[in-house]
């Protein structure tokens, strides 16, 4: 994997929400091994940008390229390599942690067994059979992180991944990001907390 050429590219993005123009002419690239933090005040358009990058919504102008190809045209390849963790975690509260993970893996086209190492990593190995409904806010966030880890994605898109996490959880996410970058992975994230990583972090400020 080349660390120089951007794998993910945003070209001239514009986002209109209702009456207001959140951003326009926004272009940037994320290369392998790079972690991009989107910064900005409340309401500056970070969530809107991440949803566009993830292929969930379309920009009013511009396009997003993955390995040089428009993601709206190559959905299957792009989605197979991407993990999105948004404000809504997407866990079924009536299923157990393990069931949630194995479904997510099947949807990503992977073997069903690879969930448990990820659970160990986020510190929930002993809750694998608990229903998600019975977990606290921070524990759910950890399950969503485990899903992202297990999906083996190259690109992580994380909207405020530190939400609801205690100190050990915050440290965990930082370590995971560092390891991901070291393996040549990409990540785009937002956070209002300072993200201090040893390497690979770049930032982009929205007006």
């Amino acid at each position: 994997m080349s660390g120089i050429f951007p794998v993910l590219q945003a070209l001239n993005l514009e986002c209109l929400r209702g009456e207001s123009l959140l951003f326009e002419g926004l272009s940037f690239g994320v290369a392998a091994g790079e972690i991009l933090q989107i910064e900005g005040m409340n309401g500056s358009g970070k969530t809107s940008l991440l949803r566009i990058l993830a292929g969930l919504s379309l920009p009013s102008e511009g396009e997003v390229l993955w390995r040089g190809e428009n993601i709206a045209e190559r959905r299957a390849t792009f989605f197979a390599e991407t993990a999105y963790l948004g404000h809504h975690l997407g866990l079924k509260t009536e299923l157990s942690v393990a069931e949630n993970l194995s479904l997510a893996l099947a949807l990503k086209g992977m073997a069903p067994s690879s969930g448990s190492p990820a659970l160990v990593q986020v510190g929930l190995a002993d809750r694998a059979d608990a229903l998600v409904r019975t977990l606290s806010a921070g524990q759910r966030q950890r399950v969503a992180l485990a899903r992202m880890l297990a999906s083996d994605a190259l690109l992580w898109i994380l909207d405020e991944p530190f939400t609801a996490l205690d100190a050990s959880g915050v440290a965990l996410v930082k370590r995971l990001l560092e390891e991901h970058a070291a393996r040549g992975g990409l990540a785009v994230l937002t956070s209002h907390q300072a993200v201090e990583l040893r390497s690979g972090l770049s930032t982009l400020a929205l007006a």
């Binding site: 993830a54 969930l56 390849t77 999105y84 997407g90 509260t93 009536e94 299923l95 949807l107 990503k108």
Partner: protein, 225 residues
């Protein structure tokens, strides 16, 4: 292909599991169906001759409403908790995944009604020879309701309180199914041939099986966007 099959099965399994976990959910479209049918003898005069006459219509309208009532559960909760985003972000073709969810909906709502209908027909003193036709129309018709309904839910799921709007979108599409099905059952009760109506329903089903998942998938992407 094998991976796609696995995703299909996993999603189907998940929805059935969710239906089982909410013990209520499994049995309730059925109970609803039964309750609506029992409303008619209560609201209308309970004479046998009259009941026999309106029985096919009542049973079919009840099936239709029971299906409709449970439609929203197909995508609404997945939308609210973000699970739908994760499904849409799967690399597998979305129409196939949609089909798994529709199948689960039918297994939980349509199939039990199919099994229950003969009993209710008895309650409304429907003639025995019409009951067979009723079963055939339900067999072809209830999957149709699930398939068509899925398009409606997918379109309205982004709107809060889309429930009643959904009804408005979906019911007009249900009407042809209703007309053909009740027509067949009434004809069977009168000893007339019904093959024509059944073939028509089957043809509609084949059409819906191919087109509805595509439309539903497109509608889901729009609702999320």
């Amino acid at each position: 292909m094998k991976l796609l099959l696995r995703a299909f099965v996993a999603l189907l399994q998940r929805d059935l599991l969710l239906a089982f976990r909410h013990r209520g959910e499994l049995v309730n479209p059925l109970l609803f169906f039964m309750i609506v049918v029992t409303l008619f003898p209560l609201g209308v005069n309970p004479e046998e001759a009259l009941l026999r006459k309106i029985a096919p219509g009542v049973i079919w309208i009840a099936a239709l409403l029971a299906g409709l009532f449970s439609l929203e559960s197909m995508f609404r909760s997945d939308f609210d908790d973000g699970a739908l985003e994760q499904i849409v972000l799967s690399p597998h073709p979305l129409p196939v995944l949609v089909l798994a969810k529709v199948l689960a909906h039918w297994l939980v709502s349509g199939l039990p009604m199919l099994l229950m209908a003969p009993l209710l027909a008895l309650f409304l003193s429907m003639p025995a020879k019409a009951v067979w036709t009723l079963e055939l129309t339900l067999l072809a018709g209830t999957p149709l309701l699930s398939l068509i309904g899925a398009i409606g839910v997918a379109l309205t799921v982004g709107l809060r309180r889309g429930g009643v709007l959904l009804t408005l979108l979906v019911l007009p599409l249900y009407i042809p199914v209703l007309i053909f099905a009740t027509n067949a059952v009434t004809a069977a009760g009168a000893g007339m041939p019904v093959a024509g109506q059944i073939y028509f329903l089957a043809a509609l089903l084949a059409l819906a099986l191919t087109l509805a998942p595509l439309a539903t998938a497109a509608a889901l992407r729009i609702s999320l966007g």
